[in-house]
Symmetry: D4
């Protein structure tokens, strides 16, 4: 069975590459969507395309709105949304994406280390699976793809 | 004009009381909904009602799911969702609520100090107003209630 | 916080009366909806109003369709759907109601004894709380109603 | 006319193979989706991927949630949902799937022996066809595919 | 249990009055909505308010569009839509209302004499009850209102 | 621009063939869906597949429900629904389909002779075009397909 | 029959007062919602509450977003949306409101002078009534409120 | 990442051709939809296909309704709706399309010169990007298409 999967959340490790490599190696019927994982262009797209801003707030605002076109479409289009929480940064955008996925009834898979279970309990509660590492996410995806 | 307003997010300061006091003092036509703001009962409701768990994960899970009945109903029923981010804790549940509110097309108002603008840019981008303090939130609510 | 609650499922014990009594005793802000719990009139409504049928299939069909007007409206209108599974009968209608409630994103609470956990796992997985007895259901409802 | 069909319910006989064979033999324009019909991996997927649980409840819970990603996607994506009730087991998951299909307005076809008509009357009432055997289901599918 | 009921269809007999009288006599918790049952004002409202038309098509068009504001709101707002087919006129508007009610998942009750069963089979198939006379409709409504 | 078009309504003249011929001759980017236009199999499908009925009502019921799987899917899947009213028969199913199409916000095109304008005014009011003959319908479809 | 009505569009004449006066004089069952009709506070609400902006674009942006909370809620909550186009200004916000109302399936009534029919044809085409003056709008509302 | 894009609004300059040329030159994964940009056939399609009208209002009405089949489908089907406002004409249809796109949660991009910022503030507030020229629109589209 084929799925469209959006890989949301943390962009500072190579977890998406691991999933893509598994998809390729195992020939899994998965269409992978991602956010812009290039940190600089993601932050600067608003002012670099639409013109500079003096206030940081509006610089961020213009970038975040342009990026939201991609994020919102990706979540709406997905069957499964995987959200990974790393050990750094605020990652409120990851939690925000999880909220959108939950409200839209998507199959939500959350990945995070066990030491942040308590602050993530509301998001875990909305998830269909809570993985501790990317290998588990890959195993779940592989399992869900099997044909019978 | 009358609105139902859900006050999501940070539960360690008295910002909800300020809004409720203003509603009362100014007789604003607002129906206020809140999460459980009693931290202990919120954390313990699962195991205290449905039985103990050895693993912290399942203790949190049972509590978070029960609380999600309230949160999800409150967001769905609201015209306006106010989400306040404080200066402590992970607050991923606040960002998660904001994501649900955005996906459901609610009138989202976000309150946070200016020093966390950058990590909140995706949520601010989905908001109809970004306030720096609760007084501004109250002014917006008062303004929206006026009849013409 | 006020909720509309539909009490679906098993109709051969007095569990609904216990909940209604608690609502009354504790003055809980709950609007309770129920199916027709009078077994005979529920089975016979089709033929007694719309005319006899020779085949049992059509007798059942006419009754079930009339009753579905009530059930479907009750589920759609509810914030919370409580489904109780007893120790007798097939109770496929209870599982069917749970499926409707899940698909519509309702706050699903399931009550059943622990010895039928395995065959109910798909329904429990969609529930926000799995209670072992009606007292627990009442405690959850009371907890969710509290104002802060 | 082409349809996507989800074959839900009983997994202990070869009824799905009969339908697939007919699709192949008659070259019917049907895309067939199924649940995991391998009983063991379906029961064990949660703990085998995400780690052991001491309590059976949580073992079942983790498996059922992972499987629900497949089931929910399959029902949402389908034009027609066929649910077969066999003569054994509780089969509450089959009734649950039927409830989801009904709430989402899918073309529901139910197959079951005539001796369980009475307890299935609510589900039959929501169905567009009630078949007594798989041959009838195949005939209906073939009939619906015809082009004019 | 309380319902909003829209009484659509035939406007040349007093069937609506019978239902209203029963509601009053039995104090049923039903909110009754009706179309404009005054034939002349219904046909003329467009040109009498918005100005004359030379072509009959546009006269009818203006009236039908104004009336659709009432009809569409009434159907959307209803729990139950009752559509009565009489023995005269084309009554395509009644069938059109039934189609809207079916598409919106309303509890559809159809009333008609048995001699027009065949041409009404598609509409009957979407109905939760097919009554032969208004007395049966009243009995169904009374039955659905009972509290347990 | 490509569209999916459902051709509903009258099945006793060759109007669908005219449209299909035009699609082929002009190579229009239209995917055409139709009901079962074979009158006998449409009427008999219920009893011929699922078993005889003594009452005509149930014979019709079983057929109409099976056919509704096709009709409902076709309307939901369509961008444009064309409904033709002929000069014979009750054609309530055509008006019912128009009601479903209107409720689902489809692009509704109605074709009928001018002498039945008055009884069709509610349906015409919901239509985006009211044609007097199939040639006009074809011209509209061709016009809508043009690329710019 | 009772309706909620949003009076959108032009704010420089007293047309809303005429409608409100008629509602009062005739005791019509209408709940009237309006935008902020105080031009200055509407333009300045963003900067006066949330802080000054150097760029006019952001000043307008903050005001328009706050006001959108009211507008969007009002349109969603309404049964009927009346949009009046006057003879001055760009009035793109009025057309924007009409687009939202149309997309949400509201009963749209448009009022404008006949000399701007051509540029308003797309909006008129989505309307259930096109009035030339406020008296006609009042007559339509009165007509729709009548009970039968 | 692939998107469907509807290019709404002004039809008197070659801005759509610029976007199409960029799509071709850069091989962007975009499916472009447009309105009828041939002004005469757009205005005349109603009367030329469905017959003459004496009143200009009905001539415009028939054309606008036929065109709405294309516009509504295009907006519903799009991921991104680009609306360009030029320096001439009323352009209420452009603002109407923007309202539909906003109500349906589409990724709205607005293009207009800076001197009309104030009257467009409500539409800009609903947009994810406000561009001053077509080159900026193209850059945004190119940016959103990048794969990571």
């Amino acid at each position: 069975m084929r799925y469209t999967v959006y890989l949301s959340g943390e962009i500072h490790t190579d977890w998406r590459d691991k999933i893509k490599a598994a998809v390729k190696a195992q020939n899994l019927p998965l269409d992978i969507l991602t956010p812009n994982t290039d940190h600089d262009s993601s932050d600067d797209c608003g002012v670099s395309i639409l013109g500079q801003e003096e206030k940081v707030f509006w610089k961020d605002h213009k970038a975040a709105k342009i990026n939201s076109i991609r994020h919102t479409r990706a979540i709406e289009r997905s069957d499964i949304v995987v959200v990974r929480f790393g050990d750094k940064y605020k990652q409120w955008n990851a939690a925000f994406d999880a909220g959108m996925a939950a409200a839209l009834g998507k199959g939500l898979i959350v990945e995070h280390a066990t030491d942040i279970t308590h602050p993530l309990k509301e998001i875990d509660a909305a998830a269909m699976a809570v993985a501790e590492n990317t290998e588990q996410v890959i195993q779940i995806l592989e399992y869900l793809c099997r044909d019978y």
